[in-house]
């Protein structure tokens, strides 16, 4: 599942996910993302940090604090690349942290690592 308030980014990421052979769903903000997670139970969530409403950190914490959703992989995508944000990101329980602009090649690699257990 991809959760980003920027439609162009949603589109590019879902295209990449699609190309790699996974099924992609998109959400425009944190609240919608949470609903989607509960209904469609994705294997992995790509989260933008700065979103209107619920932020990526909050959503990540929400996912990691519930028994049912704890095993979902979370990759945080953020424009903020400062060291503190990175620490906050891992502190909220994220499995991976990528700064924008990210490289689709890296994203493909990470997807395979997390979902198939191999590069």
């Amino acid at each position: 599942m991809i959760c980003d308030d920027e439609p162009a980014i949603c589109e590019s990421v879902s295209f990449i996910v699609d190309q790699e052979g996974y099924e992609a769903v998109t959400a425009e903000d944190g609240d919608e993302g949470l609903r989607l997670i509960r209904t469609s139970a994705p294997d992995l969530v790509l989260l933008d940090v700065m979103m209107p409403g619920m932020t990526g950190f909050e959503l990540c914490r929400e996912i990691k604090s519930h028994e049912a959703t704890r095993d979902i992989y979370v990759i945080l995508l953020t424009a903020a690349g400062q060291e503190r944000d990175r620490t906050d990101g891992y502190a909220s329980g994220a499995d991976e942290y990528m700064t924008k602009p990210f490289s689709p090649r890296m994203l493909r690699q990470r997807l395979h690592e997390l979902l198939d257990g191999s590069p």
């Binding site: 308030d5 920027e6 439609p7 162009a8 980014i9 589109e11 590019s12 990421v13 295209f15 990449i16 190309q19 425009e28 700065m50 209107p52 424009a79 903020a80 690349g81 400062q82 700064t99 924008k100 602009p101 990210f102 490289s103 689709p104 090649r105």
Partner: protein
């Protein structure tokens, strides 16, 4: 050991002076009295001797030793003489009383010479001093003559029959002198004591104020300036002057200290005030700093977002381009529009920075405010038509303003593009220009301004967002997704309007659209001056 005080010192020194003076005076007086006593004694004895000689000259002439011895013994006893002896010119004793043993002259000198006698100082073997008066017995017929010249002629002529030597015991004289000393010494000592007591009393009256000043000075040194010296303050002498001056000085010190304390308190208050000012300023700076880093992080975010899309699609197209040509076209279109977005963002940021830092060149000119508004509306016509929005302009009156026309056009542009963005298809956007002149006539008074309003029939702005919509990068909570913008348009508009001395604000009722209005002051100054001149001329003509 404590040294004696002033009073004691003066008392001791006076006593010493008076004592020494007393001794000296006493010694001198005793010498004088002594000489008087001796003098008197020898005169008395001489007179007695003469009387005796006068009365007994016949017997002396007869030189009857027995008779003479009896006579001379009677004489010595009657007059209480130490001794008496009669000797002839050859030195043979004719008659005598008991004479002290080993009687001899103390010196060969004659102590004194009276009218008819010579006086010698004699000393006996037992150390007793005697005063001896030697009186010659003349051989004149009667022996009654008292004529001095004839008397001495007889003596010198060797016609002296005999010499009567009479001794006076000086112990009696000395005893009288001693008695005199013993009676006077206590009296003198008492007088000295009285003088010293009087001096002590007087000195204490002077010293008491000085001691009080000493104590007061000590308490002044300890910081107590409330004490005034009471004793001696009314004295009409130097000490009184000192006391009064000291009290004045302490009072002046007190005044100065009060002034100093007031000054000090003022200074402290000032320091406190300045510190508070500095703290407030510092808080402001800290806040400004915080806003700046927040702004930087927002700007960074705003740049990264379009860059992310560009990067992602570019890499997709490079690595694994989609089969579908249309999809490839679409991806390229996104890259293109996101690049435009970056460019707009950059130019808006630069505009804002230039305006805020004062580097922007303003080209102010006196124009009709309708000109830039009309231009902006004309430029937006096409986009309005594309969205099937009716764009109307109502500008009935000319409004002369002194503005930078391009910048005002930029403001109207921003407001219009926002209005078109948020206005649904088939809606209406209207622009109006009004001229407000409180005096109703020409543009003469302050408070006259032109107002430009842009209203739309969009969804409106929630009341809570209204105060923040002019902030940079603020995005309304109900702004639909996909609505693109740099987030800086309204911020730039506000800066431009403020620079013109005007105001900008928004009014909105959710669901019923919103109105953005801004004002700029009318170019009144020139017209005003012209009008004033004209009326003045008329005044002269009348």
């Amino acid at each position: 050991m404590r040294r004696p005080g002033i009073v004691a010192t003066f008392a001791i020194s006076s006593a010493a002076i008076l004592f020494v003076l007393g001794i000296a005076v006493t010694a001198y007086s005793l010498m004088q009295i002594r000489s008087v006593l001796y003098d008197e004694a020898q005169r008395r004895v001489e007179a007695q001797a003469l009387n005796w000689i006068e009365a007994n000259t016949p017997q002396i002439v007869l030189a009857n030793a027995d008779v003479l011895s009896r006579l001379i013994a009677d004489f010595a006893a009657r007059e209480r003489l130490a001794y008496a002896l009669l000797e002839d010119p050859a030195g043979r004793v004719l008659a005598q009383t008991t004479v002290p043993a080993d009687l001899r002259s103390e010196s060969s000198d004659i102590v004194a010479t009276t009218a008819r006698s010579r006086v010698y100082g004699m000393m006996a073997a037992d150390g007793v001093h005697y005063l001896e008066v030697a009186t010659p017995v003349s051989a004149s017929g009667t022996g009654m003559s008292r004529d001095l010249s004839s008397m001495f002629s007889i003596v010198s002529g060797g016609q002296s029959l005999a010499t009567l030597r009479v001794g006076i015991d000086t112990r009696e004289l000395e005893g009288r002198l001693r008695a005199l000393v013993w009676t006077n010494a206590p009296l003198y000592s008492g007088l000295v004591l009285l003088a010293v007591v009087i001096q002590v009393v007087l000195m204490r009256r002077l010293v008491r104020p000085i001691a009080a000043i000493g104590r007061a000075a000590r308490s002044v040194a300890a910081g107590d300036l409330s004490t005034a010296v009471a004793p001696g303050a009314t004295l009409e002498n130097e000490v009184g002057e000192l006391v009064r001056n000291f009290n004045d000085m302490v009072a002046r010190l007190e005044e100065n200290r009060t002034d100093m304390q007031a000054l000090h308190a003022g200074l402290e208050h000032k320091v406190w005030e300045r510190t508070a000012q500095l703290e407030a300023l510092n808080a402001k700076l800290v806040e400004a700093d915080r806003l700046k880093s927040e702004f930087l992080s927002t700007v960074s975010h705003e740049f990264r977002t379009p860059l992310t899309s560009i990067k992602a699609f570019a890499e997709i197209l490079l690595d694994a381009p989609p089969e579908d040509r249309q999809q490839r076209q679409r991806f390229l279109g996104i890259i293109d529009s996101e690049s435009d977005r970056l460019t707009r963002l950059l130019s808006d940021l630069l505009d804002l920075a230039k305006i805020e830092s004062g580097f922007l060149e303003w080209r102010f000119a006196e124009i009709d405010v309708r000109e830039p508004v009309q231009q902006a509306v004309a430029a937006m016509m096409a986009s309005a038509r594309a969205k099937d929005i009716s764009l109307e302009l109502s500008a009935p009156v000319s409004c002369q303003v002194r503005v930078d026309g391009d910048r005002i056009q930029q403001v109207v542009n921003n407001l219009l593009s926002n209005a078109l963005k948020f206005c649904p298809e088939g809606g209406r956007v209207s622009v109006s220009v009004e001229c407000f002149e409180p005096r109703g006539r020409t543009c003469t008074a302050d408070g006259s301004y032109a107002r430009v309003s842009v209203s739309d029939t969009g969804s409106g702005i929630p009341q809570a967002d209204l105060p923040r919509i002019f902030d940079r990068f603020f995005r309304g909570s109900n702004v639909a997704r996909g609505v693109k913008g740099t987030g800086l348009g309204l911020a730039i508009s506000r800066e431009i309007v403020l620079r013109h001395g005007g105001e900008i604000w928004a009014e909105s009722e959710p669901g019923r659209g919103s109105v953005f209005r801004f004002t700029v002051p009318l170019a009144a100054v020139k017209d005003n001056a012209a009008t004033a001149n004209v009326s003045e001329e008329w005044g002269h003509h009348e």
